[in-house]
């Protein structure tokens, strides 16, 4: 009406008669009556119940093996060795043995875990230079002051990658071995790539442009972080494409955990191997650990986790239980409401004036 009208007419200042301007937009404000609310409650209870049961079953089907190897078995020696910082250069390896009673079916994920390691401190998290890991040449040799005191060593040589986060990178390495009942040992192949988010690997972390130089030459003039044994361009001796800033272990570590107890993905079972087509069969296993990362300074623990996943993640009992609890609460509320309605409000006498 208002829109078609000539705006210069005598009623030029008449407001438009649109639903929005006249506040006549359709609104839904439900009338809460027993007929609608009570069934809704029961329905909701049932839905939550079903979801909870289903999730519980799913969770039950996953398997998880946790192994704290901080001072387990002969790792005890390494643990003591690492107590002293001056022994940092000394190599130490140990072996942990365990058995799997029930085969892990499907994809098996290999995690390492740390306890009481505060990756979530503000100053710790800030102590990195995203511009550097993005492969900007200028920043590579001139890391930001956020990295201090890990931006340059005492001779003024820039550190790449700089900062406390990179400096404290987890540097234990694992090799998993399957001991067949025949006494033969088969190394369990782990995929060491494909551990990161697509965005991290392809957007957030890039190597500097090489321009026909080798990676080592590009990184000339920088030095690896103080606590590292190998420079960043040779982190993975087996796969040259997994070196530099795009090394997946580095990327995984650089994605700081939100809580002091966390686990990070180390590798995924390579099911191309005929022995492990269906996952990890039951039997005896051992892990050979190159034990480098000291934890006693912060009273931490470290361990490995082998687990299978469902579509909604790893073994997590919280969600199904929460659903079940919610469901029972709803049911309780529904019953209370029904009783209340039956006793007091059924005949609608409250509605009468």
């Amino acid at each position: 009406m208002g829109k078609t009208k000539d705006k210069s007419g005598p009623l030029a200042r008449r407001p438009d008669n649109s639903a929005f301007k006249q506040q006549r937009l359709p609104a839904w404000s439900p009338m809460l009556t027993a007929n609608t609310v009570l069934p809704f409650f029961y329905l909701l209870a049932v839905v939550c119940m079903l979801l909870g049961v289903w999730l519980l079953l799913l969770v039950q089907s996953t398997q998880e093996i946790k192994l704290d190897y901080t001072d387990l078995g002969n790792c005890n020696e390494c643990f003591d060795l690492r107590r002293n910082v001056s022994n940092a250069a000394q190599a130490c390896s140990c072996r942990v043995e365990f058995s799997i009673d029930k085969s892990l079916k499907g994809d098996v994920f290999f995690y390492y875990g740390l306890k009481n390691f505060h990756q979530n401190l503000r100053r710790y998290m800030d102590s990195r230079d995203d511009g550097q890991t993005l492969g900007r040449i200028k920043i590579l040799k001139n890391p930001s002051t956020y990295c201090a005191p890990f931006d340059k060593d005492k001779y003024g040589v820039p550190i790449a990658p700089c900062g406390a986060v990179a400096n404290s990178m987890f540097n234990d390495s694992f090799s998993l071995t399957y001991h067949l009942s025949s006494g033969r040992s088969v190394p369990v192949p782990l995929l060491r790539t494909g551990l990161t988010w697509y965005t991290d690997k392809n957007v957030k972390f890039r190597n500097p442009r090489t321009d026909n130089l080798t990676l080592a030459e590009v990184f000339e003039g920088t030095r690896p972080p103080l606590y590292w044994q190998t420079p960043v361009y040779s982190l993975d001796p087996r796969d040259p494409n997994n070196n530099g800033f795009i090394n997946e272990d580095l990327i995984v570590w650089m994605r700081e955990a939100a809580f002091p107890n966390f686990k990070k993905l180390y590798g995924i079972l390579n099911r191309a191997d005929p022995n492990f087509e269906k996952g990890l069969p039951k039997g005896n296993y051992s892990i050979d650990i190159s034990y480098n990362f000291p934890v006693q300074h912060f009273q931490g623990r470290k361990g490995v986790v082998l687990t299978t996943l469902t579509w909604f993640g790893g073994q997590n009992h919280f969600l199904p239980i929460a659903y079940l609890v919610t469901s029972s609460l709803i049911l309780l509320a529904a019953v209370v409401l029904t009783v209340a309605w039956w006793k007091f409000g059924k005949d609608g006498k409250n509605m009468k004036e």
Partner: protein
């Protein structure tokens, strides 16, 4: 007059300035004002904190963006407001006026008029400053002004120059005028002025009767000269403008206290976390130094804790929501737009939509408890309409259809065709054709009826051109009656001091005017004695019905009963009634009476009383002609609106500059006063004691009655304590009417509580004869003591101070004056829109605002407490757990933002391409995408939603089911109705039952009859040749007379103002 001389004194010039800023001062002043707000200052401090890198846990732009947004929005608003003020100032300042400079009249802009200048005003011009009237085109230096802008009264007022200056009629004489005026300093009292004029070694005293105040309009006077006494900001009009106050709503105040509490809470959290940090650093962080060494300056855990405190203050700043202020502003802006857009508040006739001029008060509209309303122009249209009459026992004015059913008069109803009458007033509308038929019959009572209306009045005609008559009436009632007579063929053409010329049904007839028995408040009637062309002497009388009925000839007793019935009927419809009667006088009787009159009017002592007795004597045994009913046209829908607002427990007080009687009649006609009310208290005492006594009596009356009806004996001492209880329990309805003089006393500190208590016990309060300042005082009184939200509505300049004082000011727009609208917070064209504004928009705004605030605080707390909790996991190091940049963005852009919007934005913003633009966002890149692909996240969201919604749902269901509110019931009813056929609407018609009121007592001043007979106000041209010198001598005594009378009136306010000063 000598400008150079006057300039030596630093008088204010006539330039007025209501604006606050100019181009250069805008930025600093405005910023300064804005930073006085606690919130803004707080955020600046925060911003500075964030610039310290050791402390900063968030990047600085999370604060500066909203802060700048707030500042800019507010500044733009202030700037536009000020721009409009500038514009109106400029318009006023640039009005032209004629100033006498060096012997000639020159056009000057208003702002260049100086104190001491002599300016010339012409008819219908606004008076530019407060000026002393020197002379005018009318004889004796009389001039007429309309003071609608000042006090809302539209009837003409007479001002007269000093006799010594009144003959300074031309420019050269005025040039020689070199008087000196010594007067009181500028003040805001509209009805008082004292000063002396020194001229030619004589002293003349000056009073208000010689002053033309700024804002008045010159009427009926061709020109006049005056000397500027006060200019610009010193004029009484400007002095009467209250200071503009920054209006804040109760929600604002609530918000401020909440913010303070939250701030305290924030400090607490900061302290807890800081202590936590200290402990953590000592126990755990020290051992973590291998990986994360402490900074050099960070020498101890305690110092670290100290820094952490500030960091957490920054992180947790979202609990003290800056975006709250922005969001609230935006929300209110939206509501204001809804108000502007509302078609139901758009007035077709004047093409005026409602306008929310202040955007900050919307939700306060829903909280209004007291409405202070002006009368003229707000409740009424200030148009008197002759709507019905009863002649010789027969009523006219209603329209009946063929089934003898009364037809509602609407715009479409055919009006009577007055084309037989070439002199009719086109604007006049009458719907009953039978009256025209009746008037055409010769010699009927109907003709006498209209003849009376055409003769018995004090209206001055002005015939600008042939057939274009304009009546200047001292009261609009009379104007309406004379206009009615004119349209029915009894045209009042001209008058001289001794004659009245009518045009009776086309034939000219001249009546000799023998005497005017003037109106006064005691007599409540006026009569004229005329000799008609046939030589018979007749007395025509009109007046209040009760008065007239007492003085009727027994022969018209039957007629009296019939008429009386009609009168009650008229009164029931809220019309003002007048009874008309006539009497034939014999020549001899008149001669005798004439002699007595002559004798009495020369008596010095008790002249008034003797005159009254003489009038009484002749006005006996009259024959009743009929009665008129005049409608003081209310604005559309006023009674309904008032009834509706009353239902909403909103108290309406009417504050008017009109007379007591007028105000009461309007009170009746708009349903505020009713006959079924237990009692209407009229407070009109002139001294403080009287007022006090009256107030006490009234109060005891109310309390006493209700006490008897309720419990019984309560000790006197408990009276005040019990007041609040009684306020609730009083069932019976009372009304209070208080006049301006009494109000001045009642507003004094010792009485104001009594007044307030009494007023609050009454259902209706009407204050009449109040000055603009008193209006403001009344509003202030209620505002101060009742802790209630007040709303003032008015249309004229006299309401400005009231509008500014009240919490909310509403201006009625679309009429002449714009001052009220400019000062107001909301403006619309009709009083009835108030209902929608308050009950619909106010309610909605309040609801929405409350919901919004609850949601907002909930959201902020939810968001912030996550960080608090997270502090326990991250070693109290003030690390943020969520992506704050986008939280801020979402906060501001999508206040209604649901979780989905948030996620959507996150997803879009953090896609690959954007990181280049927002490098600081880098750490979070890809988070959202990877999160959202995680199914468990969705499960958690679902669960959380269910868990959060359930308790609310349970509660609201229980409430609806067990304790339904009225609204719920209504909605339930509506729903069940939907199934049935729409039922017939039962329209209940509001019937008023009320007592009769005479119109004649209204807005009429004594003395005009005398004015006419003396011929004083006649133009020389219209004066007949019988005009003689002797007459002038006589009539000058009359002028003294009228002035004396006025002084009596003005002495009372003078007293009251003295009392004011004592305070």
């Amino acid at each position: 007059n000598a400008r150079e001389y006057n300039e030596k004194f630093s008088y204010a010039n006539n330039h007025i300035k209501t604006s606050k800023y100019n181009v250069f001062t805008f930025l600093p002043i405005n910023l300064f004002e804005q930073f006085q707000r606690v919130a803004n200052a707080y955020f600046v401090v925060l911003l500075i904190l964030q610039l310290i890198p050791e402390v900063s846990s968030l990047s600085w732009f999370t604060t500066i963006v909203p802060l700048v947004l707030v500042l800019v929005i507010t500044a733009v608003k202030d700037a536009t407001d000020d721009y409009f003020r500038h514009k109106s100032d400029r318009q006023v300042n640039n009005r032209q006026s004629q100033v006498l400079i060096r012997g000639s009249l020159q056009k000057e802009k208003w702002m260049n008029v100086r104190v001491g200048d002599i300016i010339k005003l012409e008819n219908n011009q606004f008076v530019a400053a407060d000026i002393l009237l020197l002379c005018s085109s009318e004889p004796y230096g009389l001039c007429y002004i309309e003071t609608a802008e000042l006090d809302g009264e539209t009837n003409l007022k007479v001002r007269q120059a000093l006799s010594v200056t009144s003959d300074l009629g031309d420019v050269s004489k005025l040039m020689d005028f070199d008087g000196e005026v010594i007067c009181e300093p500028p003040n805001n009292k509209l009805d008082k002025f004292t000063g002396t004029l020194h001229w030619r070694d004589n002293k003349y005293s000056l009073d208000n009767e010689k002053m033309l105040l700024r804002g008045c309009v010159l009427r009926n006077t061709e020109w006049c000269f005056g000397m500027v006494i006060f200019a610009g900001l010193q004029t009484k009009l400007m002095q009467n403008c209250g200071r503009t106050k920054f209006k804040r709503t109760s929600i604002d105040k609530l918000m401020n206290t909440l913010v303070l509490w939250i701030f305290a809470f924030l400090i607490c959290m900061g302290v807890i976390l800081a202590i936590g940090n200290t402990i953590w650093e000592t126990c755990v962080g020290r051992k973590f130094e291998l990986f994360l060494p402490w900074d050099k300056f960070q020498s101890s855990a305690v110092f670290s804790g100290f820094l952490t405190f500030w960091s957490y203050i920054i992180i947790l700043n979202t609990v003290v929501p800056i975006s709250l202020y922005v969001s609230v502003e935006v929300l209110r802006l939206g509501h204001s737009f809804f108000i502007n857009w509302d078609q139901k508040m758009y007035h077709n006739a004047s093409d005026t939509p409602a306008e929310a001029r202040t955007t900050t008060l919307n939700e306060e509209l829903g909280q209004v408890e007291f409405i202070f309303s002006d009368k003229t122009g707000t409740l009424t249209q200030n148009i008197m309409v002759f709507s019905k009459c009863s002649i010789n026992g027969q009523t006219y004015g209603d329209v009946y259809d063929e089934f003898n059913q009364k037809v509602e008069i609407t715009e479409k109803t055919a009006c009577v065709d007055f084309s037989f009458n070439p002199l009719c007033d086109k604007a006049f509308k009458f719907y009953d054709c039978s009256l025209v038929e009746a008037v055409k019959q010769q010699g009927s009572a109907v003709q006498d009826f209209f003849r009376l209306l055409a003769l018995c009045h004090t209206v001055m005609p002005e015939e600008k051109s042939e057939g274009n008559l304009v009546y200047q009436a001292q009261s609009p009632d009379e104007g309406a009656l004379v206009t009615a007579a004119r349209n029915f063929g009894f045209i009042f053409r001209a008058r001289t001091p001794e004659t009245i010329t009518l045009c009776e049904m086309g034939r000219a007839a001249t009546y000799e005017l023998l005497a005017i028995l003037d109106f006064n408040n005691v007599r409540k009637r006026m009569s004229v004695i005329v000799r008609n062309p046939q030589g018979q002497i007749k007395l025509y009388c009109k007046g209040a019905d009760t008065i007239i009925f007492d003085r009727l000839d027994p022969s018209s007793e039957d007629l009296m009963y019939a008429t009386s019935e009609h009168l009650s009927e008229f009164a029931g419809e809220g019309l003002r009634t007048l009874a008309l009667a006539y009497k034939d006088l014999s020549e001899e009787y008149y001669q005798v009476w004439q002699k007595k009159l002559h004798y009495v009017s020369t008596v010095i002592e008790n002249r008034e009383e003797q005159l009254a007795a003489l009038y009484e004597e002749v006005e006996q045994g009259m024959k009743l002609l009929g009665a008129t009913a005049i409608e003081d046209k209310l604005q559309e829908g006023v009674p309904d609106t008032i009834a509706c607002l009353n239902l909403a427990d909103i108290k309406i007080w009417v504050l008017t500059g009109d007379k007591l009687e007028t105000a009461m009649s309007i009170g009746y006609s708009c349903n505020m006063l009713r006959d079924d009310m237990n009692e209407v208290f009229v407070i009109s005492g002139l001294t403080q004691l009287e007022v006090q006594q009256q107030l006490r009596n009234a109060k005891e009356n109310i309390l006493g009655l209700s006490r008897v009806s309720s419990t019984g004996d309560v000790e006197k001492d408990d009276m005040f304590a019990e007041d609040s209880v009684f306020e609730e329990t009083i069932i019976s309805e009372y009304a209070l009417v208080i006049s301006g003089h009494s109000l001045a006393h009642a507003l004094e500190p010792q009485l104001e509580h009594t007044l307030l208590d009494l007023a609050c016990l009454c259902k209706t309060v009407i204050c009449c004869r109040v000055t603009p300042m008193q209006k403001a005082q009344v509003v202030e009184l209620v505002r101060r003591h009742k802790m209630a939200v007040t709303l003032a509505v008015g249309d004229g300049a006299n309401d400005v101070s009231m509008i500014k004082t009240a919490h909310i000011g509403v201006g009625i727009s679309g009429q002449e004056g714009m001052q009220a609208v400019l000062a107001s917070d909301y403006s619309f064209a009709q009083f009835r829109y108030l209902q929608r504004l308050l009950l619909v928009h106010g309610r909605w705004s309040y609801f929405r605002m409350c919901n919004f605030l609850a949601y907002f605080f909930y959201k902020n707390f939810a968001f912030t407490l996550v960080h608090f909790w997270y502090g326990f996991f991250c070693g109290f190091s003030a690390q943020i757990g969520l992506d704050t940049h986008y939280w801020t963005a979402v906060n501001h852009l999508f206040m209604w933002g649901s979780l989905i919007v948030y996620f959507a934005i996150l997803f879009a913003m953090q896609s690959d391409g954007l990181f280049g633009i927002f490098p600081s966002n880098f750490p979070f890149i890809g988070t959202a995408r990877n999160c959202l692909s995680e199914k468990s996240v969705w499960l958690v969201i679902l669960l959380t939603t269910v868990v959060c919604i359930l308790p609310g749902l349970v509660l609201s269901f229980l409430r609806v089911d067990l304790f339904p509110t009225l609204t719920d019931k209504v909605r339930h009813l509506q729903q069940s109705r939907k199934k049935q056929r729409p039922q017939e609407q039962n329209l209940r018609r509001v019937r008023r039952t009320s007592s009769r009121r005479s119109a004649y007592a209204f807005s009429h001043q004594q003395g005009y009859g005398e004015l006419i007979t003396s011929g004083k106000n006649m133009r020389v041209s219209t004066l007949s040749s019988t005009h003689s010198l002797e007459r002038i001598a006589q009539s000058s005594s009359w002028i003294e007379n009228i002035l004396k009378r006025k002084n009596e009136v003005s002495a009372e306010p003078a007293e009251s103002h003295k009392a004011d000063r004592l305070k």
